[in-house]
Subunit: 345 residues, 2 copies
C-alpha cells in the first residue's frame, strides 16, 4: 500500500468535514462580498492549487456571476506592478500556506484594503495569518508529495463560496452529494488493472477535456507527470484544435475526461476526431455514447452534474496515476526532483 492511495481513499471523509465545518466562514465571507459589491475575484495559486483555481473560475463565473482573474505573481514580485484590487476579493490557495509568491499577492492586496481569503491545510500558516478569512482543507497532514485530498478540499471550498454567492440552494444541494459519489466510484468502479497494465510502458500522453473538467485534465496530467514521469500534456479541447492537433500520433494515447453533461456535444465531436485519426483513446466517462467511440473506458457513476463530476474524475485520474506508478515499479509517494513545498521567489 502507498500513502497516496490512502489519501485518495480519505477524500470522501475530508470533504464531508469541509462541507460541515466551512459553512459559517463561507456565509460570512459571502455576506462581505455582497456588502462590498465585489466585482472581481483574483486568485493566486501554483501547481495543483492552480488547477483548483481553474475549477473555481468556471463555477464562480457561472454561479456567482463574478469574473475571475488569475494572478501572475511575478507581476508583483519581479516587476513591482500594483494592479488595482480595491474592489476585488483576493484568494490565495496553497496546501502548505507557505507559497512565498502567493503570500506576496495577499500582502499586496492587504495593503490596498482588498478583501482577502486564504485556503490552506494549516491554520497557523503564513497565508492563513495574512488573509482576513482562512479556510482549512481539514485534510490532516498530506504525506504523499502528490497532492490529492487537499486538491478536492480546495475545490470544495471554492464551490461552497460559489454556492453562497449564487443566491439559491440548488448548487449547495449538488455539492452535498459529492462525498457519496466519490465513495461510490472508489468502492464500485475504480480503475481496472487491465487498463493500467495496457499503459505500463507509456512515455507520453495527452489529457483533454472541455468546460469544468478542464481543471481535471490539467491536474490529471500533473499527477501522471509527478508519479509516473510520463510526459502528459493537458489541453482544453477548444485550444487543442488550434495547433496541438498537428501532434496527434497513433503512438501517443489520449485520455478524454468526458462525463455526461453540458459539454456532451464537444466531447462527442472530439471522440469522433480521435477515432477518425485512429488514436488509442481512454475516456473517463459515464456516457454510453462516448464509451462506444473510444478504446477504453474508466467508468464513473451516473448522476453527476458539470460541477460535481470534476470531483469524481479527479479521484479517477489520481487513482490511475497512482496505480500506473506502481505498475511501473515506481514509488508514487516520493517523485524524483520535486519537493512537497515549493518556494518560488
Amino acid at each position: 500500500m502507498t500513502i497516496m492511495i490512502d489519501e485518495i481513499n480519505s477524500q470522501p471523509k475530508v470533504l464531508e468535514k469541509v462541507l460541515a465545518k466551512s459553512r459559517k466562514g463561507v456565509r460570512d465571507l459571502c455576506r462581505e462580498v455582497r456588502e462590498r459589491k465585489i466585482e472581481l475575484i483574483y486568485i493566486a495559486a501554483r501547481g495543483t492549487s492552480d488547477h483548483a483555481a481553474v475549477y473555481a473560475k468556471y463555477i464562480l463565473e457561472i454561479h456567482a456571476g463574478i469574473p475571475v482573474a488569475f494572478a501572475a505573481p511575478s507581476v508583483i514580485t519581479v516587476y513591482g506592478g500594483k494592479p488595482g484590487l480595491q474592489n476585488a476579493l483576493v484568494i490565495g490557495i496553497s496546501q502548505s500556506g507557505k507559497a512565498e509568491d502567493v503570500l506576496e499577492v495577499l500582502r499586496h492586496a492587504g495593503r490596498q484594503g482588498s478583501l482577502t481569503a486564504a485556503i490552506t491545510n494549516y491554520e497557523d500558516s503564513p497565508m492563513a495569518k495574512e488573509a482576513a478569512y482562512h479556510f482549512s482543507c481539514m485534510a490532516g497532514e498530506e504525506k504523499s508529495v502528490a497532492a490529492t485530498k487537499t486538491f478536492t478540499a480546495q475545490m470544495m471550498i471554492m464551490a461552497m463560496i460559489a454556492a453562497g454567492l449564487s443566491g439559491g440552494g440548488e448548487l449547495m444541494g449538488e455539492l452535498e452529494t459529492v462525498p457519496a459519489k466519490i465513495s461510490e466510484f472508489l468502492a464500485d468502479f475504480g480503475v481496472p488493472d487491465r487498463i493500467v497494465n495496457k499503459y505500463k510502458d507509456m512515455q507520453e500522453c495527452f489529457v483533454l477535456a472541455r468546460g469544468t473538467n478542464y481543471s481535471i485534465a490539467l491536474e490529471g496530467a500533473l499527477k501522471i507527470q509527478e508519479t509516473c514521469y510520463v510526459r502528459a500534456k493537458a489541453y482544453a479541447m477548444s485550444d487543442f484544435y488550434h495547433g496541438p492537433l498537428a501532434l496527434l500520433d497513433t503512438s501517443i494515447p489520449v485520455f478524454l475526461i468526458a462525463p455526461g453533461g453540458l459539454t456532451d456535444e464537444g466531447n462527442m465531436e472530439m471522440a469522433g476526431v480521435l477515432s477518425g485519426y485512429g488514436i488509442e483513446t481512454t475516456a473517463v466517462t459515464n456516457d454510453a455514447g462516448i464509451k462506444g467511440m473510444v478504446s477504453e473506458t474508466i467508468w464513473v457513476p451516473p448522476g453527476l452534474s458539470d460541477f460535481t463530476s470534476p470531483f469524481v474524475t479527479a479521484a479517477a485520474m489520481q487513482l490511475f496515476a497512482c496505480k500506473l506508478s506502481l505498475a511501473k515499479g515506481l514509488n508514487p509517494d516520493n517523485p524524483r526532483n520535486i519537493k512537497k513545498v515549493t518556494i518560488t521567489r
Copy 2:
C-alpha cells in the same frame, strides 16, 4: 523560400505601420477607459492570439495597474454564465476576426453595456463590427497557417494600450525601438543552421521562461508543434518547479527564453538546475552569464527591456520553428490536421 519566412521578415514593417496608424484609436480608447473608471480588462482569445493576451496581461497589470482576466468562453457559450462585466473593458483578439466563441464573449459584453474592443486582421470581420473599437493588425493577408506577423502586431496593439494607460511616455518610447530591434536580429543574428541541424531529429522539447517572456515560451512551443510536429511543451519557470521538474530527462532538450532583464535571477537559477541535471539546453538570450551556463545560444541583440524583448524572442522562436521544419523536410506553411481559421462552438 517559404511563405512563413517572408511573413517573419515582414514584421518590422508591419509593426512600424501599427505604431504609426493605431495611435489615435488607442488614445480614444484609453480616454474612455479613464472616463469610465474601468477596473478590469477581460480578454477573450484562442491559440496564438491567447499568447498575445498573456503578454498583454503582464504589460497591462504592470504599466496600467488594471487587473486582467482571461475569458473561458465556454462559461458563456456552453454554460450560459453571465459574468458581470459592466465596468470592464472586454477585448477580443483573433487573426481572422471570426472566432465564434470569442465573438460570443464580445456579444455578451455588449449586451451588458461593457466597453468593447477587437483586435483582428480584417476591418470587416464579425468581431471588428461587433466591438465599439477595432484595431487592425495591418499585416496584409497572412498566408501561412502558422501565425507570425499578426501575433507581434496583436502584442504591439496591446502594449500601446498599456502605454496609453500608463500616464507616461517612457513605455511608448521603448515600443518605438521594436521594429529596428527585430530588423537587427533578423539581419545580424538569426538562428544558426548548426543549432537547427542539431535538433533535426528532436521529437519533444520543453520551452521555459519567466515573466513577460512566458508568452513567448507558449507561442514558441506552439510554432514548433504546428510546423515541426515536435511535442513542445511550455511552462512558466515557477510552475515547472511544481511537478513537471520530475519530467526532466537528458534525452529531451530544453529551450530557455531568457533575455537579460528583471527575471535574470530566476533565469540563472533555472539554467543552473538544468545544467546540474545534465540537460541539453539552448538559451534565447543576450546575457553572457546565461550563455556560460547552457549548451547553445540563440543570440538576440542587447538593449532590450522586459517589455520589448518578447517581440525579438518571438521572432527568434518563429525563425527556429520555420528552419527546423524545413530541415525536417516538412512544409511549415501547411501543417497537417490544422486549419487557419478554427471555429470553436
